[in-house]
Symmetry: C2
Subunit: 458 residues, 2 copies
């Protein structure tokens, strides 16, 4: 008789797991059912800001596969189904049909928990008024765009200057709104160091954003059930639209209630490298898990589609009888706000201190192309390296077109525990339309290596 695989959550992690498992085991051997409480599966959450901004006209473009596509591949998808309890002893889950309210009990042999993340939402009075949006699911994105089209708001306040806040802020600017950003930290993008974040702040101001930094939101003003203003510790900012971009945390409550371990620091479900929980046949993947940070050596939770995809694939291969592991992360991320590209990998200064590293930093400003070749842009690279060994610990890039993707070279170097000394001599590509004779990454490594040499000598 066929084994039964249940998947909780129909996005990147869960559906990648289901697809991989199906590739390796046919329907006669493995029955697969995925429960998704929302109305869509397998979409690009990272694409939502571009749909909101109108870069992408049709939300369907964000959907990689429909429930019908999965059905054809022998994977049953049940939309509007929320799993509300996992019973590990009885090996079954309790599922709520959101339309109609019927409850189902479904047994499993294998279970994949891919419940994703939930946005932080402080308990402000009025937070449920019209015009306030957290943007986590495609449904949220559809509602936001509908509100933009319908109410034509002019003034928006984005609360929180992380990736989501910035990307949605850009989307609203593109649609012509006045956009204010409120951020508690001294600069946006607090995953960058302050000196690099300041470059982002400058670029945003140049694009017409109003920045209210080092301000804390204390509440919201509403009237007739609609938001009217965001109240900070210093002022009231009128707004017809408010975006909550305060970050997310792993949606691990269901797993925790079932008795599965959740990391005290990360809040994510604990798994081994094969993405197994401690319970036989129970796997977890995506934004709801904790992963190993290869530089800090600490468990972290990082909500990113690329990790969710890889982890889901690892789960599916393992359920399918193969062997795969997810080796962890190093905190690589990239984004763009208007024409400013921003990227980071490894540890920033705060993280390096917390992890106990004795480090130094080095900055370079260079160009994406040979100085004499038209169309090049400036970029700044900051690197963190360990004192003594010169091991590369982290890197940050702020620049324009052609700058940010260079972070992948630095990420690959960190992944391989390279020193800045070794990195400066790597055989990277050079031609005038592509880089100066020393690529900016090589210059960054060289400058850091010089500093290392001076410190050793002194």
């Amino acid at each position: 008789m066929a084994e039964r695989l249940l998947v909780i959550g129909g996005d990147a992690a869960g559906m990648s797991a289901a697809s991989q498992a199906r590739r390796r085991r046919g329907p006669e051997d493995l029955n697969i059912v995925a429960f998704e409480k929302g109305r869509h599966v397998s979409y690009s959450a990272c694409g939502i800001p571009y749909y909101v901004g109108g870069v992408i006209e049709d939300a369907d473009e964000l959907i990689a596969r429909t429930p019908e596509d999965f059905r054809k591949r022998g994977i049953e998808v049940r939309l509007g189904h929320e799993v509300v309890e996992i019973d590990l002893a009885a090996r079954r889950v309790r599922v709520l049909e959101l339309d109609g309210g019927r409850e189902l009990i479904e047994g499993f042999d294998q279970l994949v928990i891919g419940t994703g993340a939930v946005p932080y939402c402080p308990p402000w009075p009025g937070a449920d008024a019209e015009g306030i949006f957290g943007v986590q699911t495609l449904g949220d994105g559809l509602r936001l765009r509908r509100a933009l089209d319908q109410f034509q708001p002019r003034r928006a306040v984005v609360i929180g200057g992380g990736y989501i806040g910035l990307e949605l802020g850009e989307a609203l600017r593109m649609r012509g709104l006045e956009v204010s950003l409120v951020e508690r930290a001294p600069q946006p993008m607090s995953t960058l160091d302050p000196d690099m974040g300041e470059m982002v702040a400058d670029a945003m101001r140049e694009k017409g954003f109003a920045l209210y930094l080092e301000e804390t939101v204390e509440g919201l003003e509403t009237g007739d059930g609609r938001v009217r203003a965001v109240v900070t510790d210093r002022r009231a900012l009128p707004a017809e639209l408010v975006i909550l971009g305060l970050g997310v945390r792993p949606n691990s409550g269901l797993a925790r209630a079932a008795g599965l371990a959740v990391g005290p620091e990360s809040g994510g479900i604990v798994t081994d490298l094969r993405m197994r929980t401690a319970a036989e046949g129970v796997w977890a993947a995506g934004d709801c898990v904790q992963v190993f940070h290869q530089v800090s050596r600490r468990p972290v939770s990082i909500a990113l589609g690329t990790h969710a995809n890889k982890q889901g694939r690892v789960v599916g291969i393992n359920i399918g009888g193969g062997y795969a592991t997810f080796p962890g992360v190093i905190g690589t991320a990239v984004t763009r706000i208007c024409d400013t590209e921003i990227a980071r990998t490894g540890l920033n200064e705060r993280e390096a201190r917390a992890a106990g590293f004795d480090y130094f930093t080095s900055h370079v400003r260079s160009t994406t192309r040979a100085g004499y070749y038209p169309g090049g842009t400036y970029l700044t690279i900051k690197v963190l390296a360990e004192r003594g060994s010169g091991r590369l610990l982290g890197a940050q890039i702020v620049g324009r077109e052609g700058a940010a993707k260079r972070i992948d070279v630095l990420a690959t170097a960190i992944w391989n525990r390279m020193s800045v000394d070794a990195l400066q001599m790597v055989d990277m590509s050079y031609a005038p339309p592509f880089s100066p004779v020393w690529d900016p990454v090589l210059i960054a490594a060289r400058k850091a290596a010089e500093k290392l040499g001076e410190e050793r000598a002194s």
Copy 2:
């Protein structure tokens, strides 16, 4: 008394060495004189095609530093001076003043040989006619552009489909000439495998190049001292302008005549990792040396500005009392012809066979951005990996805007001897304007890892 450093050749390698040595040792300690037989020092040879094509209007933009700049930093530069003999025993060189023909004898304590490369030029009758150009030095580039302005030729033939041939071919197309390419191999860019080179051929034909592949040039037709046609084994191609792009070889004759070792395979001067020749205080760097290929484990000579720069720097640091090494190359290169980007690193199939590797290949076609995000382009990545271990041996990319620079990630992976298995899980950056959720490099590694798994299983 100050030591005396003589530098033979005033381009990337020689002048980098001089600059680094000067940074570390003042004029009271080290006297530095550079002899350059041409009229320019310290220019970007790689930028010449863009000057010829008119992308760069003023040739001065290609010059990083003038002799006067060097003089101010305490480095004497003598243009129009050709070193014609090195006497290692007497520790002196014989120098010919090209204007006037006077001969000088100059003694040295330290000597840097940076004599560069010379273009292959077959002994065809008529090869000295007007209208025939090898483009190696800035002087060559100036003469070519002058000829274009003066004679307004309409038809050009480029002989040889390597980097220089392609880049100059593009330059001539940009100036509106009809350009034919004659290449002995079945496709241009023979540093790529034939399947990838064919994509380059298609792109060139689309841009109006006439390709004559698998044809061998047998001679030139001239009249009134000017070139009239290129004669292949199959036809005569009328031409008012002919570009010789048959590659270069290390200009190591001077060193060889002095008794220094020259590699029998590579033709380049033999040095150790610190760029020392076997003679005390005699160093060599740049296109004239042989270097160690980290994948094939063989000595090779590769004429590239980025290597020359790094090697010159290594020499200068060592002469300056520091310690630096050049660890070798892995054959990374990048170019662009019209809007087609081309890159490679590591070994191609021919090279992998020659080096005795048992390898397999894998191809992927992907996009530079998320599929739904506007402005993305297609790219093809081919990887070579070792059977059994899965070690990444080489990679090639053909695509458009945003494709080629991804080669640096693959180069860094090869540099660190990564397997395709390990590479597929590296934490690379992802956001829709920058890549699909799996970056094309990760997809390429993943597909190769899958193939590896299947081969292991079978």
